[in-house]
Symmetry: C2
Subunit: 494 residues, 2 copies
């Protein structure tokens, strides 16, 4: 079974109360200098945050801002805001802080003169790379590749997906052309005016509920919330349903298998249909867990099916690990939980990787230069920070830590869910990459807001889900605090 089994072990503990638990244990934080617990002094946002909001909102549309932080003081898993409120952060800048704030191993990276100069002199790495660029791509990035031999670097997640999408189109057209067939003159002239055959009618298949970014091509494959997409022209590309499972999984195996089969059938039907409509599918793009869309997680069986369909139809498979990558599920890449028979064609990354980019197969490598290209193609400074992050992950066995913390967290949430099935349902996830549904959107928003007022930051996703995205240094004692505050919150809203 790919999900953690529940047991009753934590039930007693959560009844005992977190304070007792905390008192019993010596707390050794993986990031030195962490406070022992959250501490809220003001409303959230507090008066200083509110004043700063007015300033920022006069400069740009800032309605998404929750509070202003003090990044000089924030430490480890604790975000400290400008009103001196201390939060336990289980959302970590939308899942993008790998080992906590102000980790000592990151603060010292640029004491190395070479690394500092690499940061200051960000080059056009596709034209004049620095002398250690090949070695660093290999020792830092390929070293954590999920079995793919090639890697391109980018500046952010959207650009990683945008460029990876191009690689899907290139390789699809290459397969159509056969080996060693060059571009025709008509292709070269027509592409310059956005017309076929040079700018061909090709599509990418994505899933309802998916999120792959907000630039225009990635937005055409994003289907999580209208506010992301309204008023932006798009492509007529196929969209399949992503399975929606019944929980608990172990009680609903047959229904969930049927759901997998139904969705896989739709994927295959859409590929056939779009092929007939002269808008063939060049690639399937999919998250291992739909994150923004509601932490919708699927079985290995579903992903194995997707890969088989992709292979059967000569269509590339891109797994978007921008949010799921870098250990939070207990494996470096979430899709490594799926036992695929071979790696996907492309795996995109960003967020906790600090640099954007994508791993890819040799088939996805453009034959010509300048096809996947831009001025910077990544940033050596970010690569050095990532090197330090990966070293910490390895040295401190943080993937094991994630499994330990995640197991405790998931069990704790499931226990609270069991006590309040009218309020919470569908506890799910792997490692600390966890989520639970509230009964409705209003309740979800209330729980998230109340948790913040108690000093715990969690994320929202989908219509009514709460998601946890702590750093990899989130330990059992942090989980105790989170569970205690969640229990308090549920007691208040019930």
């Amino acid at each position: 079974m790919w999900f953690c089994k529940l047991n009753g072990a934590l039930k007693g503990a959560s009844k005992t109360g977190t304070k007792t638990i905390l008192a019993r244990r010596p707390i050794t934080s993986l990031v030195p200098g962490e406070p022992n617990e959250p501490k809220i002094l003001t409303d959230v946002p507090g008066p200083v945050s509110k004043a700063l909001f007015e300033k920022l909102n006069s400069i740009n549309q800032s309605g998404s801002v929750q509070l202003f932080a003090n990044y000089d003081k924030s430490i480890g898993n604790y975000l400290i805001d400008v009103d001196n409120n201390v939060f336990l952060d289980a959302f970590t800048q939308i899942s993008s802080v790998p080992i906590g704030y102000n980790h000592p191993d990151l603060l010292t990276v640029f004491q190395d003169d070479h690394k500092l100069r690499a940061l200051i002199n960000r080059p056009a790495t596709g034209v004049f790379p620095g002398h250690d660029w090949p070695e660093k791509l290999r020792s830092i990035l390929l070293n954590v590749s999920p079995g793919l031999p090639q890697v391109m670097t980018m500046m952010c997640g959207s650009c990683s997906n945008e460029n990876a999408y191009k690689a899907l189109f290139f390789s699809y057209r290459n397969r159509q052309r056969g080996e060693n067939v060059d571009f025709t003159e008509l292709e070269s002239s027509s592409c310059m005016i956005n017309r076929p055959p040079g700018a061909p009618q090709l599509s990418l298949l994505s899933f309802h509920g998916a999120f792959h970014g907000r630039t225009m091509a990635t937005l055409a494959t994003t289907h999580s919330k209208p506010i992301h997409k309204l008023d932006v022209p798009s492509f007529n590309w196929p969209i399949a349903h992503f399975p929606r499972y019944k929980y608990p999984l172990e009680d609903n195996t047959r229904e969930n298998h049927a759901e997998d089969d139904k969705c896989l059938e739709e994927v295959e039907d859409l590929i056939v249909q779009y092929g007939k409509n002269e808008n063939p599918v060049a690639g399937i793009v999919v998250e291992p867990i739909q994150s923004e869309g509601g932490d919708n997680e699927e079985s290995p069986r579903f992903f194995q099916g997707i890969q088989q369909i992709a292979k059967r139809h000569g269509v590339g498979l891109l797994i978007d690990e921008v949010q799921t990558g870098v250990g939070a599920t207990g494996k470096m890449w979430c899709h490594e939980h799926f036992n695929l028979e071979s790696p996907p064609d492309i795996v995109t990354f960003s967020k906790k990787m600090l640099t954007g980019g994508f791993f890819h197969s040799l088939d996805m490598r453009p034959k010509q230069p300048y096809r996947i290209f831009n001025t910077w193609l990544g940033d050596p400074g970010k690569l050095y920070l990532l090197e330090a992050v990966l070293n910490v992950i390895k040295q401190q066995n943080l993937l094991d830590q994630v499994l330990r913390t995640g197991s405790k967290l998931k069990l704790g949430i499931a226990t609270i869910e069991k006590e309040h099935p009218d309020l919470l349902n569908s506890t799910r996830g792997r490692g600390t990459f966890l989520a639970v549904n509230a009964a409705d959107t209003e309740l979800r928003d209330k729980i998230v807001a109340k948790l913040k007022l108690k000093g715990v930051i969690v994320g929202s996703c989908g219509d009514h889900s709460i998601r946890l995205r702590p750093s990899l240094t989130f330990q059992e004692h942090h989980a105790d605090i989170l569970l205690d505050k969640l229990q308090q919150t549920i007691n208040e809203v019930k």
Copy 2:
């Protein structure tokens, strides 16, 4: 007149020879520690570069790489490669190094503990910005705004344009809706499946020869080279001709005015036509000088005409200053040469700004949050580097330096052109943002390659143009060297 008049002053100097000139003058470099001249020890690329190329090319498609640099040793306007060749760099990482390599004022930025922590703890600035984010956006970015009150930050040039394009669509639809009209349910549901009316049929007008990026929407407005566009699906968006002038400008005023008028007429015709075809133009996107497309520069009159057309038809005007911005034309923003009656609606930036982003009017400000949004929305670390860059530009009056150096460079190139009109033509540009055409592509490539072997790096653009993109610290003595090497090269190829 908006172009520099030629005179014969440099003719003698170039005949005298650079060595004599160098000997006569004390050289005081704006960046301390620069070598006095280029020095080439090996073939270019040299053996160490070639060995590194094999390593990099085994990791990704690296055919665009020219050589591997040593960024520990490179200094000011001199790029030093892994074979210890010393190049005078007049291309600066595709125009993205503002004040030279390893500038002392940049090397010390992160000695400030607060700035270091801002770099290490890159936040989701749209949700949990740091305490000085509003003040820094104002004091660093808005302080150099070309008259626009709002600014958004992004990670790179493509993302800046992609998001600015969305702002053009949003504001166009807002104008259609009128004030205070909310999205309809049909818009919300249809956009989720990429269909109108939520994902409306709208277009952007761009120009033949333009370059705005390589992500899919920016690529739909890019028309510089087929290799950028081949095999990528695109949008049916209007493309107008960008004026092509006859040089020297002062001898061809009437023809060039007629060329302006013809192109402006086409722009207006396309807007009317696409409106009728139910694919209305929401915005015009244009570079002040088409850079990748061949350094095609236009008159203020043309841009004034574009702005008038945009206003007449209720269409947004985006000026893409990713390559032209930050002083290289002698003004902070190239379009400030155009005496527009009001600022354009959006000005995008990146490259020498070190951070991507765009300035915009209040009309272009989304009414709702999360419409222009992504995880990072910029990078405080880059903003601190930019702060140091802008301080140096101001303290050292680098815009004046650009005008002095540019005047000498342009005059020198024009003089060489005059002596060899069969080889070179159309010397053009503002400040040090200069270009000259070779008679054909082969000759251009030969000149660029020979210059590199003499230790001077310049760029190519368009079919047969050579472009100069030196840093703002490129001084008269650097210009002397460049002109001397160009003269030698032309003597060899003639």
